[in-house]
Symmetry: C2
Subunit: 261 residues, 2 copies
């Protein structure tokens, strides 16, 4: 690890600062007392990664996997000519850097988008509730990644923004980080553009249109979705669910040509 990590400050240790992460993990599958204690112990040993610093670096050996306790991080790839693409985001309660094979090499750079508080992910004994939680978390990660592909491939700018904000809203809800329909959104429009495969200018225009249409409020790092359900329906967003069957996205999947926005 190269980042300038430093010990957590005393003022960060006040009660409940790691509650969102804990709550999120517990939402993936109920944790028993033993695992809860494991997590608490791990969280006591947290550390901070400053904004814009890497948490993992592509091609570099990976340390143990980590739990993000506070802040936002993202997997990013930068092309030789400077184009940048965020591939996925990590929110409080997400596990970063799980590997199952012998070679612990980071397959992507993970960047702290805000100041991040992290702790080592405690090892999960075979058959433990924590092991289930990790597995479910990984499945969710993949589901979001698949969703991102659909977003980039087949949604227009407007839909991408709506879909993205809905996803974030859902994920933050699991951690108890939403208030009403609103939540903290530390991303700049430029970062949003790099997640959605658009330019900052175009993102800006679409956001303003959404504002005019009354779908959205976005002021000083806080987003309010006016009618999440309606938006979700118009996009046909299917929310990943680990706890039951999903509504089918389309119909028979057997045929059907390509017909972009």
């Amino acid at each position: 690890m190269t980042q300038l990590s430093r010990k957590i400050r005393p003022e960060d240790e006040v009660e409940g600062l790691d509650a969102p992460a804990l709550r999120r993990l517990n939402a993936l599958g109920p944790l028993d007392a033993a695992d809860r204690e494991r997590l608490r112990a791990a969280m006591a040993e947290a550390r901070i990664v400053p904004v814009r610093h890497p948490i993992l670096t592509l091609g570099r050996p990976m340390p143990e996997s980590q739990i993000l306790l506070q802040g936002w991080a993202a997997r990013v790839r930068i092309l030789p000519d400077g184009r940048r693409q965020f591939m996925s985001f990590y929110l409080p309660g997400d596990v970063i850097g799980r590997v199952h094979h012998a070679l612990p090499i980071a397959s992507a750079t993970v960047l702290a988008l805000t100041e991040c508080v992290l702790c080592t992910a405690p090892a999960a004994p075979a058959g433990s509730s924590l092991e289930q939680v990790y597995a479910v978390g990984e499945a969710l990660d993949e589901a979001y990644l698949l969703g991102h592909v659909v977003q980039l491939g087949r949604l227009n700018a407007q839909e991408r923004i709506g879909d993205f904000l809905l996803e974030i809203y859902e994920r933050l809800s699991l951690a108890g980080l939403t208030v009403g329909g609103s939540f903290e959104m530390p991303l700049t429009q430029e970062m949003l553009a790099d997640a959605l495969g658009l330019t900052p200018v175009h993102v800006n225009r679409m956001i303003q249109q959404a504002r005019r249409d009354g779908d959205l409020m976005w002021k000083s790092g806080r987003v309010l979705l006016r009618d999440p359900d309606r938006t979700a329906r118009t996009i046909g967003r299917l929310r990943p669910q680990v706890t039951g069957a999903q509504p089918e996205g389309g119909t028979d999947t057997t045929s059907e040509p390509s017909r972009p926005a």
Copy 2:
């Protein structure tokens, strides 16, 4: 499973038809004799899924994970209005439907793009070489998925096609399914469009331009890449490598704005 699976026909069992899959698996990490035997046994019990039939269905319970022995399959999502997006492809030697958590529900529909020959993936004893191979395979899958996100988000039509064909070329090479720079490509331009987030018409135009530029030959289901390395370099494609460190995609990943094609 709903597909009309039927027992493999005698004429499919001639020597070596499953060789590509075996070769691909072995390329991920050397298999010892015991695991090789497990695979051989599993492959003896293969079955066929006809073209356009589902191998897994979104939201439905999943059977054991399977190894694709012959043919192409893809994870697909279809939006309510008919837009279709292929999220990833399965080639011979790929494992379909691994799950690690208790709830075996398919997170996407997997469609047979050609007639597919499949077998059950033999269970991998803890610590076996096969377990490593499965894990590496999964890591590769994710790497390709990440690549797909970058492709859709930041590459233009021309680059997407080049990058896609390069990926397929690399993957088929591992299974020994390439001859010189050429390989079988059973996808129609329409399917390609649904993978790359484009329209069939535009894909067609870009392909023809690539042909005129001498980058490409594509005739009756067979593709020949003229100069894979040059193409790879101009796109800045980074090939996922499980066996060593990767060339860094860009520079410091610390800063840099968004600047699409």
